[in-house]
Symmetry: C2
Subunit: 144 residues, 2 copies
Amino acid sequence: MTRKPSQETTSAWARLVRVKQGLLAAVENDLKAAGFPALAWYDALLELSRAQHGMLRPVELEKHMLLPQYSTSRLIDRLAEAGLAERKTCPIDGRGHYVAITQAGRNLQKKMWDTYSAAIERHVGAKLSNKDAAQLCDLLGRLA
Amino acid sequence: MTRKPSQETTSAWARLVRVKQGLLAAVENDLKAAGFPALAWYDALLELSRAQHGMLRPVELEKHMLLPQYSTSRLIDRLAEAGLAERKTCPIDGRGHYVAITQAGRNLQKKMWDTYSAAIERHVGAKLSNKDAAQLCDLLGRLA
DNA sequence: TCAAGGTTGATGCAAATGCATTGAATTGAT
DNA sequence: ATCAATTCAATGCATTTGCATCAACCTTGA
């Protein structure tokens, strides 16, 4: 039996939903306006670029990104089609394979960061002190 | 010229994106598992139920929900098709109309709250003290 | 060894989304 | 009064998502 959420909890949730609606859209919009692909592409490229040898199993990427399986599969399709990543056969497990970032993928990720970081600064950095940001980060961390 | 975001800002942003991915999906999932429609339907019904006479102009609903115009238009289509809301002609402005929540809509909104509030409590309330939740709410508020 | 069950990943199909455009009504300036 | 500009809302079309399912492979256990 779950009890009802407190007023504080409910308000925090409501704001979270609202901020997500607004901020995410704003940042995505900045990226699009600069002619870049969506945030999910950036996230995937970043994950891949950080991984050992620039490659991951789809199932790992899926866990990092908290995405449904089919969604990951199709994201990889598009990255591959755009030449930003490529599928490699996996020597360990015949079911799966690796997804490897290409040089073009690394280049795009770096270029996107200029625009992306500016958007983060404008929409978040400009509105919170570093202390506030750290606090927010901490609180959000407890929800993860 | 925008400067680069601080480490704190960047971390807070990263967590925000991650928490949004995970929590939203978890809560949506709880609703779906209970046989209810998506969160957006609930939000719309709630907005309508709170409005004067249970009705709003689409453009107002759009602003409340931070949704694109066409998205709102289609959400209304579906609510109407499901008998949860209905379009009324607007006596003031011949271009537009009103969207009014129906009794079925009010009933559904109330019933969804049982499941929804339980999900909020489980995924947020259980993880933060009321003081933390209030703090989180405050910080998020500054981003809106 | 081999059958049962679990993982990994892709895909067909229906529904939803995003984009651009349209059309109708209002507003504002001359 | 008139015409341009703006606001409100819907929609055609291509892309993307979500759901269910499938096929291939791995693991376990008798």
